[in-house]
């Protein structure tokens, strides 16, 4: 082939260009440190490295999530540990409080410490990590517990995704630790109550267990005698009694004892003496008996029967009943079904009683009673009127009581239409509507010359209904009438005495044991999760290293190889320049003269 200088020049330019290109490529890779500087350098490698970089970024984020999860779990574990020590301390206090050597004052200070523990556990419940509350569910910016332990959070699970498809719940369910049944708040609360008062008390049903012995020759005609202890002597024996022959409506006495041991003259040739039983006599102890006279000559032995009714009574209080009060509850009012509907409460052992507390009764059907006392000249009297018989929704007869329901009159049949019922001279009542039911009750006070407008009534409770009374100091009393005998008078100042004593502490210890076991379980669970999150983090870190290596293999320039190539390319380039300089320069003209 014929070669011309231009061919040569073209060749030289092309070859130098190639050398330059090679140098430029090597230089680019060396200066950037990357083998792939644009996607056309290695399209498959680019996709791989872009993908790998994305995975690597994600992996790094998983590490952040793992760290964050670990912090959550550690914080929660730490809170649970504190809580466990609170529960442990409370358990110690419960055992200490049950010790009989403690006085009420000691128990008060122990209760105060338990209250402090309660506040401490509330504070632990309000623990925060990085400005978020640990035990608030998803309400991480709301204080979860108020000072009473009321919960404002929720039970939403917070999860961290710490690996592909690996979601871990990092928060605790507060209701399983603090607020749920049998958890620490309830246990501490119960303990506080038990230390400071009785939550639920059964009464001391009868005051004394002395027996009454009767002697003499009874000449009277009374069918029943009721003897009541009226006062006690300094040595605790009975000093005086009073007696009633009409079921306690009126009393005779008190009668002081004579002789030693004292005997009491009950009248009509009958005398009584007391022999002490397990419980000492108290004022108000009653004994009811039917004298077997005339001709009574034998001894009677009568158990004290102060509580005529055999109703069961319980008392609850919560939470601030003063330490060791003696509560006496007295039934003073009953309805036509022999349910106790009014009581009085004494907080000084029966010395003074508060006002009558009534049980809530239901309203009868819309019905009112009118009364007419324009010709009434009797004393001012409280009347209770009750529908006794009803025909086609209208009362046909009524009964009434003038002693708060203790005794009721014989049925009074209505006269005329609408029927009018005459209760006493000049006093009559009528009903304005015709939807009456047996047991509808109406109360009013009759005074001389009174003219009556309509008054609403109350519905008598069904026989045997339990009634509940709320007293001061958060006392609540429940009269259970289930064993009441029909027609029996119960609200005759029956008294029930409640002597608070420390009970329930054993249950509290057991409850706290359960709380501690639960907390231990939760701690174990969170500890295991912490380990899992940390193991995951370690794994992610080593995976990250692997991925970086892989990415580096794909993306990074091989400096050693490139340096060698650079040396070669530079050498080639310099050689080409040298050769070209020599070959271009001379032509034949240089040799012509």
């Amino acid at each position: 082939m014929r070669i011309t200088p231009i061919t040569l020049a073209n060749d030289i330019v092309a070859n130098l260009q190639n050398s330059y290109q090679t140098l430029s490529n090597i230089d680019h890779q060396l200066s950037s440190g990357k083998r792939i500087n644009q996607s056309s350098d290695d399209p498959a490698g680019t996709a791989y490295s872009v993908d790998m970089q994305s995975s690597l970024d994600w992996n790094t984020q998983y590490q952040d999530s793992s760290t964050s999860a670990t912090n959550w779990l550690n914080s929660t574990t730490s809170a649970l540990q504190q809580l466990a020590s609170v529960a442990s301390r409370a358990r110690t206090l419960a055992i200490q409080g049950g010790n009989d050597t403690n006085t009420g004052g000691d128990r008060t200070s122990i209760a105060a410490e338990v209250t402090q523990l309660f506040q401490e556990s509330v504070q632990i419940g309000n623990s925060a990590y990085a400005d978020t509350y640990l035990f608030a569910g998803s309400q991480v910016q709301t204080i979860p517990f108020n000072s009473q332990g009321g919960y404002a959070g929720d039970t939403v699970a917070l999860t961290h995704q710490i690996g592909p498809g690996y979601r871990m719940q990092v928060n605790a369910n507060a209701t399983q630790i603090f607020t749920g049944t049998g958890n620490i708040f309830a246990a501490l609360h119960a303990l506080t109550q038990h230390l400071s008062s009785n939550a639920t008390l059964a009464p001391t049903p009868n005051a004394g267990s002395e027996t009454l012995a009767l002697t003499g020759n009874y000449t009277g005609g009374a069918a029943n005698y009721t003897v009541q202890v009226a006062s006690l002597a300094a040595n605790g024996s009975v000093a005086s009694v009073q007696y009633s022959t009409n079921g306690g409506a009126t009393w005779t006495g008190p009668v002081a004892g004579a002789g030693t041991p004292p005997t009491f003259n009950l009248g009509s040739g009958m005398t009584a003496s007391f022999s002490n039983g397990f419980l000492p006599p108290t004022v108000g102890d009653q004994f009811t008996f039917a004298p077997a006279g005339p001709g009574l000559s034998q001894n009677f032995s009568v158990q004290a029967t102060k509580n005529i009714g055999n109703e069961a009574v319980t008392m609850t209080s919560s939470p601030n009943l003063p330490n060791n009060p003696v509560i006496v509850a007295k039934a003073v009012q009953q309805d036509g079904n022999d349910n106790v509907v009014g009581i009085q409460i004494s907080t000084d052992g029966g010395a003074t009683f508060g006002p009558t507390v009534t049980a809530k009764e239901t309203q009868p059907a819309a019905e009112t009673m009118s009364y007419n006392a324009t010709a009434y000249a009797g004393p001012t009297t409280n009347y209770l009127v009750r529908a006794a018989a009803v025909t086609a929704g209208a009362a046909t007869s009524v009964t009434y009581s003038t002693n708060n329901g203790l005794t009721w009159s014989a049925p009074v049949v209505g006269v005329g239409g609408p029927p009018s019922f005459t209760l006493a001279a000049g006093l009559s009542v009528g009903f304005t509507t015709a939807s009456a039911a047996v047991g509808d009750q109406f109360a009013f006070t009759a005074t001389a010359g009174l003219a009556g407008a309509g008054i609403a009534g109350t519905q008598a409770l069904a026989a045997g209904t339990a009634t509940t009374f709320a007293g001061s100091n958060n006392i609540q009393l429940t009269w259970s009438q289930a064993t009441q005998n029909a027609g029996q008078v119960v609200a005759d100042a029956d008294t029930h005495t409640f002597t608070p004593a420390v009970t329930g502490l054993n249950a509290d210890v057991a409850a706290l044991d359960a709380v501690i076991a639960n907390l231990a379980g939760q701690q174990a669970q969170f500890g295991a999760k912490t380990n899992a999150a940390q193991a995951n983090l370690t794994q992610m870190q080593s995976l990250n290293a692997e991925m970086r290596t892989a990415l580096s293999h794909t993306l990074d320039a091989d400096i050693a190889a490139l340096t060698t190539q650079l040396a070669t390319a530079t050498m080639v380039y310099q050689a080409a320049l040298g050769v070209d300089a020599k070959s271009i320069q001379p032509t034949l003209m240089d040799f012509l003269h």
């Binding site: 073209n10 092309a14 996607s39 994600w58 910016q141 961290h160 995704q161 592909p164 032509t587 034949l588």
Partner: protein, 508 residues
Amino acid sequence: MTTIFSALNTANTALQANQLVIETIGHNVANGSTPGYSVQTANLQAMPPYTVPSMMNHVGAGQIGTGVRVTTIGRGRDALLDGQFRYENQYAGQYTAQNTTYTQLQGILNEPSTSGLSARMSAFWNGWQALADDPTNMGARAQVQQTGVALASSLNSDAQQLTQAQQTADNYVTNTVTTINNLASQISNLNGQISAVVATGQQPNDLLDQRDQMVDQLSNLVPITYATQTNGTVTINLATQVPGSTLLQVARPSEAPLVSGINTNLLVASPMGVPTYADAQPYIDTAVIPSLTAPVGGQLGAYINLRDKVIGGPTGLISQLNSITQALVQTVNTQHALGFDLNGNTNKPFFNVAPPAAALTAPWSTVATVTAANITVDPAIVANPQAIAAANASGAVGEGSNAQAISNLRTQVGAVATPLAGFTIQQGYDNTITQLGSIAQQVAANDHAQGVVMSSLTAQRQSVGGVNLDEQMTNLIIFQHSYSAAARVVTTVDSMLDTIINHMGLGN
């Protein structure tokens, strides 16, 4: 019987012929580096011999040469090589244009890097996961907001630069048409001059060189077919590569050629359109070439293809980027709408579109108006990161499972009714990058290979038509000596005449 003067005459032809040859050598040396110049050669031929008439002998000593003459001055040119060169040249133009543009496109998408779309997307997903871990942390919320804004801006910027690149390609199309028209006009002028010279029976070597040079340039810009007519003019038709055929095919046979004699039929460029002829006929006659609507080959074909298929068009980069954007907006908005923000609001979008497009409304799967150019983060979220819906229930401010669900969208394959069915968003983008890189790699290889082909063809043409100074010098010496020798012949004859005239005779 010849006369002594005939020898002088013979020497004279030699002097003249050698002088002409030396002049040609001088011309060659002068144009040794002129682009497109072909080496010229003065073709010598012995003049017709003279038969010496004789009465005695009808066959004398023989015919006597009468000297030398230059018959033609030829040029070193190989029509076959020219054809091959111009065929390959349109590939060279095509590949160079593609290579340049693909390099630019890769620069726009800028992968792999720490600042490309992929890195932004990665940061965006990670931001969501960080938020899921700590949904009430305003820093984490701001992070999601800012990575969202960065992602949207990155898409906006890519879309804008791609549109710019498309506009640049269109400008190239217009400029290329202008250059084609200029060259066509100049070639038609040269056709006129050449035909005038050829009519006189001579060969206008330098005009031919100029015209060949222009046809070479033209062949780089656009595929052409050409034919040289007997009157010396060249007829040029606009052609195209046809898929499945290695031959160039005339694109619109029914149309007058681009250059025919002294006439031209120039092209008209229209913005974003395929150039037409002045009579509004399209470049391609689809009745003849049904598979094409635009020319393939040369710079013109390359830029039209880049503009309409690679950057624009339904499968172009802008469309691919729009598909990725729509998949992103659809999946993220759909999930975001399920969540609740710090103030208990729900059913709100995370991404939205910039005006003048109408703001997106539920259902959030409707994303037809979203493009890479107009995607934004919803103004409510830009205004206040509290509006980011991280929780899965109203008021559950510390709960981040919706944020986690959004973060996990990065692995969601074939989101329902998205344009990327079967791929994750990252994979969709990877595919775009890989495809672009693969083609760019192939184009660069093509460009390099074509450069080698062109070098080889140029070398071959140089081999035929290049000026070798050594060769010219050698010839110069040869013809200088020939000239000297001829002069010596004259001197000798002169001496002979002197002998005859001055020294011969009785008088001496």
